[in-house]
Symmetry: D2
Subunit: 397 residues, 4 copies
Amino acid sequence: MQRIAMLGSGFIGRFYADSLQGYRSRDTIVSIYSRREESARKFAEDYQCHHYTTVMEEAIAREDVDIVCIALPNNLHEAAVLLCCKHKKAVMTTKPLGRNAAEAKRMLEAVEAAGIFNGYLEDLVYTPKFIKANQSVQEGALGRILWAKSRETHPGPHSEWFWDIEQAGGGCILDLGCHCVEITRSYIGKDIKPVEVMCWADTQVKPIDAEDHAIGLVKYENGAIGQFEVSWTFRGGLDLRDEVMGTEGTIWINSFLRTGFDMFTTGKGGDYIAEKAESNSGWLFPVGDELNELGYNHMFMDMFNALEKGVAPKETFYDGYVVNAILDAAYKSAKSKIWEPVQLDIWRGQTGLSKESHLVSYDQDHYLVKEEMTHYGAKKLILKHKTTGKITEQLLN
Amino acid sequence: MQRIAMLGSGFIGRFYADSLQGYRSRDTIVSIYSRREESARKFAEDYQCHHYTTVMEEAIAREDVDIVCIALPNNLHEAAVLLCCKHKKAVMTTKPLGRNAAEAKRMLEAVEAAGIFNGYLEDLVYTPKFIKANQSVQEGALGRILWAKSRETHPGPHSEWFWDIEQAGGGCILDLGCHCVEITRSYIGKDIKPVEVMCWADTQVKPIDAEDHAIGLVKYENGAIGQFEVSWTFRGGLDLRDEVMGTEGTIWINSFLRTGFDMFTTGKGGDYIAEKAESNSGWLFPVGDELNELGYNHMFMDMFNALEKGVAPKETFYDGYVVNAILDAAYKSAKSKIWEPVQLDIWRGQTGLSKESHLVSYDQDHYLVKEEMTHYGAKKLILKHKTTGKITEQLLN
Amino acid sequence: MQRIAMLGSGFIGRFYADSLQGYRSRDTIVSIYSRREESARKFAEDYQCHHYTTVMEEAIAREDVDIVCIALPNNLHEAAVLLCCKHKKAVMTTKPLGRNAAEAKRMLEAVEAAGIFNGYLEDLVYTPKFIKANQSVQEGALGRILWAKSRETHPGPHSEWFWDIEQAGGGCILDLGCHCVEITRSYIGKDIKPVEVMCWADTQVKPIDAEDHAIGLVKYENGAIGQFEVSWTFRGGLDLRDEVMGTEGTIWINSFLRTGFDMFTTGKGGDYIAEKAESNSGWLFPVGDELNELGYNHMFMDMFNALEKGVAPKETFYDGYVVNAILDAAYKSAKSKIWEPVQLDIWRGQTGLSKESHLVSYDQDHYLVKEEMTHYGAKKLILKHKTTGKITEQLLN
Amino acid sequence: MQRIAMLGSGFIGRFYADSLQGYRSRDTIVSIYSRREESARKFAEDYQCHHYTTVMEEAIAREDVDIVCIALPNNLHEAAVLLCCKHKKAVMTTKPLGRNAAEAKRMLEAVEAAGIFNGYLEDLVYTPKFIKANQSVQEGALGRILWAKSRETHPGPHSEWFWDIEQAGGGCILDLGCHCVEITRSYIGKDIKPVEVMCWADTQVKPIDAEDHAIGLVKYENGAIGQFEVSWTFRGGLDLRDEVMGTEGTIWINSFLRTGFDMFTTGKGGDYIAEKAESNSGWLFPVGDELNELGYNHMFMDMFNALEKGVAPKETFYDGYVVNAILDAAYKSAKSKIWEPVQLDIWRGQTGLSKESHLVSYDQDHYLVKEEMTHYGAKKLILKHKTTGKITEQLLN
């Protein structure tokens, strides 16, 4: 059983609380901190939480708190983490870890110096679909991974602070790109070094200083490519899709808008209210169990199981730092318009990898270009001669 | 916290155990009964269960047991239930409740006489998709419900006893139809009386005595129609779909084969093994979190929450009995080839309902047949005169 | 090149004309008959047709007419067909052929006595998807066909005459069921005799005399089952789906609402008008090329190619007659509530078939119940002893 | 009626012929040229073509030829075009127009100097789905277009010459990217100038000199972004998808792998052969009418209708030239790793555009950041103060 201090009573804090206290959980939130007392009190009531406060340190320092869960705007993460270090409390932080790699690095170094448990709350690598898909990838179902893309777009965040670049630290790249980068990095291999980033970003629709639409490519040391597509300008709901290509297969995941649940309603039948949709009528695409589909349940299960076993969870501050470093390069590239190197002062994975050869031998003299089934049922080979380079066809029965 | 005695260590017992002890559950299995000692011991090891036995009553009677979970072949449910009554233990039973309504009625009367908590483990009305869909239906999103269909087909069950009509009590109607009937009954309204059933059934493919394919219609007192399509001869995996039509909308649910997770693999990339699929290569459609998608988690949550609050769960032996009564009528109809009345000695819902009128007035003199948008953007009305019956068209701007 | 006289200038007549004169066709409509002069004149203008008339026989009798296309309300088919017989003109008629089998039979006998080319315009067995699917079925991709279902539901027809039972001859069974019956009959085999029908029908929503919702089962001599689901009460657009199950596979076809074309629009961007949808905003599912997707192009191609070669097209009046006979049994069953025999005075397919055996031998002593792959990669057999009936499991590596 | 000389009897030539002579076409191929006599003769037989030759000019120069259709490897386009100019024959050429913009420009200038009809056979902007989607975009259904992506990936081309960089001029960028670029350009607006390109390309799998995987971004003068994803390394079939995002909506098109046609087959039922799939068993996704779905029918219809009316078709050599210019920039960028300008010596669209403002006023003092529906049914506004930049929330009932 874990006793949690929750920092932040907004949209994400409530999502976390719903998950933490959902199902038949043995874990419970014992303290809630919010900047606004009214909000703290309301949260405490809603979640049967015995203590609430507007003083952050008070929530963290309590004796009955086993772990602190940071669900605050991005600009407040570092201060909260440092208080956890001071009081030697296990800590887990919402995404992104920092507004940039420098912040993230300081947090990483602080928790490691303090020797406290640290978890990075990247829920989207804990979705049931991702977990099963990534397991298939690990087992080799797709062969060598060539490309992984993650797309998250929607009509913009709910809370006002996201739209303020000082508090948020950036726009949709930071808000949504952090998910996409960790998803694709996980498919490609978390021990494979990201080396450089190319990114396009623009403010196409919203009257804000940050970007509201961006596309980025992340090149890894072994030649694999990660891609992110993020936007706050998408119309139609929450579009959350991943794709992975390997030499032996492909995976397509749709996590929100097309999950096998279609509903049409004229809207005349009652006071029906559609969640996360842009309308209450017409064709709607609800999600069955949002908390589970978005990974919250499996994420907290991993965090607490790890904490109880005294091991690191799947996602730590180190991962949060790597993500921030990749996003820093993306921001830089969006301005410089060239591929920017990923600056990783701390790197704990493999180094010195090179691209796997694309020269697959068919026989002593030839490389295999393609093997295919013709429409009349025969097998056709396209070969390339190793020395002359000549391309030839061959039909097999 | 609930302490469970599990009766049965087979396929479904293990599924239940995975769910009961999954996530960060506070509940635990304290005793396992199996007819085969080896199987009981293996189960006890796998699920850290301290007691195992080959004597059913021993597992039930233990003092540390709060609730008994029956995961046995159909022909053993009644004996197990009676032992729970004898020892005044709360009980929950896998589906179908009995092999027929007579058995189910005896079980229902026994648990009510004993005054014990009774739950009917119909997981498919606890799937996240069903829960949200049914909530929308309750809120009126589809208007008045006209028709609800549920389809469950696959290439046949895993365990041998299903194929033996004495143990199972029937074929795919009993095995799969029990799900479909309760799903559609829930959409139409559990207090609406099922009145008659028409069913076709046949043994088309399997060398068995029971049916391996059946289609049935269930008419309700208010004129709504439930439909089930069940088969053990389907090729392609587990096909699990529901559809509901109302006067104001429709819902389509695909619970297994198309849930937003597509994978292609040549099968050459490693030792990948596809679950529940008929092949390990080609296009495969995995489900992210099967336990959750199939409703087990929400089902046990409801059972235990109800038990702790001293109220009835959403699904009780009474529901199991109603389902058995409908299936009895289906079996009878498959033989008699006529609509057979549903025999319900016990009925606790509404009675005396009649069909809602299909005569919607448009104005004093006309009924409204249809209102539609023309392709040039005008509104077109088709009206029927109340006395002459004449059909006319009218264009509105 | 074929010169066509079109009878009827309504919704379906225009659809036909769009197809007949679409692409780079060498065929052309030379005469149009409509009951209303204004409508005939408008049609003639729109389709560059040199002759229009309000006298049916005038259109048919013209020397420059090679073939007559009947696109009239159901109650006018017979009179039009008889005029074609009188003038010895090739004729093709929209669906259903008659309002009942008696009418259809008279038309069939008339055209055959007159020796004229006769085509039955059942477009939905000419859709590109159906053609390819049925070809796969013929090639054995699904093994022995067990069940075929076709579903057509929408919010009701556009033209007023459909709602008048005297002109239409029936409700959605006749209007939509004629499609479904011919589709499923084609999958099962057009030479397999339909023997009996069970049908539920009701008027649930519309203020009309005919049925607005029905479900029917058609049993074939070889044990296969056809199913139709038809309604004029569906909300959400035009739902047009087929499913086929065989011993070796399955086919699912969605012909209209989910064809790989999804659009979301707030409706604020302009004067966009969605066709066949119930709204101009939200998620919409357009079809690329409706004429082609609904089979019109391939249908007329078959008709004219057959006419030019002097052979019968794929669909003739005989097929229309068989369909009417099946629908007659459906109407009868909806009233009698029992399975009704299909009355086929004229039958040109196989006779005396019986159900294929479901007893597949595994070895000398056993039948094979099921072969499956376990989740740990082994092959499992479930067998039934031929004499004792005992079910056993066997694991193979 | 048009009489066509076909140059090239390979895969694409046969596809064209199937379309040209499909349905009830009034057009016909009167001469076929192939480098190999055997191939020319076979083609002539298969398509009832009265003349075949191995001398290209012979086919072009014939008096009975109205238009020449070039279906040759990329390196032979220019010579063929010049012969058409010499003989003043109307010409249409398969994609890409040239191996690079220099070649394309010479061809464009030659046909214009000769004053002959010229068509660019970019079939994928003629698919039924694209045509309807683009019409919706033109009508404003999506508002202002922000981004358009096209993806075409498969396991590599069928014919050997594609794999030889000298004949093909490049790899998947040239082969597949030409489609994607014209599709996205059409959604954004063909009169909007493409200004610069960023591209990643690599040879990840195939033993060839050209790229087998690439991703590119194309920036347009009005700030819109086009994206292409192309590969010859995809496993799973032909993946052909487009997406478009605008300020008021989105469109998703799947043209091949998910079009509402799903089939499962064990492969044991017969000699079934799946086309374009990587296997003959398991879940397969056929396309109903490939020629129509891939746009060939509508493309030739536009070409011939334009030719007969004496106007330009939708796609001309000028479009082919623009596409080549964009692809040239992509190749350059893949090497230089920076955004490369698109060199367009010839540009006939708008110039001097700038990005549309993202500052949408809500009232005198505020910009509108977002308007959303809360889950309790109220309308929430997020506003930004025009001078202070402060972000605030406001709830409306």
